[in-house]
């Protein structure tokens, strides 16, 4: 098992939480985590693994941080 810190932002927090450390089996993908959270992958606009955006097929390691954002912008 690996421990991953999952951080949620904007409306992903509604009815959920801001951050939590969760346990997953090794080989779990970001996509699996998004599904586990009951979030539609289409709605995830920014998917950071340790601060780096990229595909949902990535596999986090023990101690990694995953940050999920719906579409946001500003400036």
């Amino acid at each position: 098992m690996i421990k991953v810190e999952v951080r949620l932002f904007a409306y992903f927090r509604e009815g959920r939480w801001k951050k939590k450390t969760l346990e997953f089996e090794e080989g779990t993908t970001l996509s699996d985590i998004v599904k586990y959270l009951n979030i539609d992958e289409e709605e995830v606009s920014i998917l950071l693994l340790n601060g780096i955006d990229g595909p949902a097929s990535r596999e986090p390691k023990d101690g990694d941080i995953v940050s999920l954002f719906p579409p946001v912008g500003g400036g």
Binding site: R7, F9, A10, Y11, R13, K18, S45, I46, L48, N50, G51, I52, D53, S67, F69, P70, P71, V72, G73, G74, G75
Partner: protein, 610 residues
Amino acid sequence: MSGYMGKILRVNLTDRTVKVEPLDLKVAQKYLGSRGLGVKIMVDEVPANVDPFSEENKIIIATGALTGAPVPTSGRYMVISKSPLTGTIAIANSGGYWGPKFKATGHDAIIFEGKADKPVYLYIEDDKIEIRDASHIWGKTVSEATEIIKGDHEGVNVLSIGPAGENLSLMASIMNDLDRAAGRGGIGAVMGSKNLKAVVVRGSKKVSLFDEERVKKVSSEKIRILREDPVAGGGLPSYGSAVLVNIINESGVLPVRNFQKSYTDNADLISGETMTEKHLVKKQACFRCPIACGRVVKLADGSVVGGPEYETVWSYGADCDVYDYDAINEANMLCNDYGLDTISAGATIAAAMELYEKGYIKDEDIEKDGLSLNWGDAKAIVGWTKKMALREGFGDKLTDGSYRLAESYGVPELSMSVKKQELPAYDPRGVQGHGITYAVNNRGGCHIKGYMISPEILGYPEKLDRLSLEGKAAYAKVFHDLTAVIDSIGLCVFSTFGLGLPDYVDMYNAVCGDIYDDDSLLEAGERVWNLEKLFNLREGIDSSHDTLPKRLLEEPVVNGPTEGHIHHLDKLLPEYYEVRGWDEKGIPTEETLERLGLEEYKKYLGLASK
């Protein structure tokens, strides 16, 4: 004349004369209006090397062809002058309602010349134009002056400076409709130097449209795109621009302690989510804006005021290591009311905190002010703001910006600025393309004239690897030119969260006539950018100024997800000059000026290379 009103006001404050001049439609269309028109007037009418506070400098307030037209986000106007902060062209944009209300008086722009011998304000009610005595509002804050003016004149919109502009603070803004700011470049001080307190407008005229039916159709289509866009129709109205705090921090590019760090565990305390949950009273929209990113917040004392933007939450927050929203909201309110640029104000306090930390500023320098320069001191960020606006105590030194402050201690490199203007809220070491915008921006350190954060972090219009250099120079050039288009036609750059170049072509052509296609409209933006560059070259601001603070080029990021990275400007800058059609010294080639229809300005190329 479709889109344009056809008249320019020339106000000579020395002679107290007002002339109404015809707008040259061909020129207006070629430079689009607003930013482009103002820059052309500055280049044509103001000689090189004038003192920004002298009678020779001019200040131009200009609308675009679409300002006030029935298309989305058409509430913008631009102030153009020579900046006393940077010595470059000053181009500062604002929303709210003043711009369209001014245009409704039947004028496209005002050129202010000379200098009044006593405080005055300009009153415009359609064709009735008067230079009036402003002695009763001089010294008043923006809200006080606005209230007095509204008591004297019914149904008006007010643009004014606050005490900071009167006191010639080099970070003074111009405010309109109480809390909208043409913020950057110290442009409020140019107004102050001319003894011009306010411009008060009431108009009854409409923008004439080339094809009214088409405008209706095009407009409702663009409004629908914006409403359906998840950012313009979702994230921005729900959380305001401060929704960026968490995403920028999670990406490891949120500057902390004057760019000494690039990530903080405290970001959520000052996030858009927290503002919405704890401080937001309601959102507010500018003229004809379906987005409504503006915030109204409650201060600790219960008063209800305009809320801070992302940049302000950062400058007074993370950059000063302050995570107290009440203090940030209060500092923001003071900036609006006293007329200070929130980015330069907060970032200069942050620079002063580093200068204090490193022992350059001593306790005895600030003890009489009763305020500290300790990181994280929430009381200090509020206190220094007022002192900067009033030039009180050590605030007198702070108010001319971080560059002059740091330079006075012999360490200008501790100012996180480009061309002496403070950088905004993104560490370019983790967003390589955005660093190009910082380095080459014609008005100095600024994010908004080519917002590479959109592709590099937010995924608009597509997602780019933020740490990669590949293709970034060419991408940045397109963003610079497109932003010049949006500014010059009179729309808001936030409309790009949904709209793209063809949408702006649709709107411009429906309002003004079938003049532009995608390529030629983008080229008009390129024309504006090049003319600004020529203004700067004429002032002696050459490629040696197209750089970043040493810290960002040489010191790797020390914490967070961007740890270990520096900015690679040495690789990106030559590429940028090349895609611009400039030589290796960053000077436009004759061919480039010819291609852009700027032949008449080739005479300045010789000056630049000397």
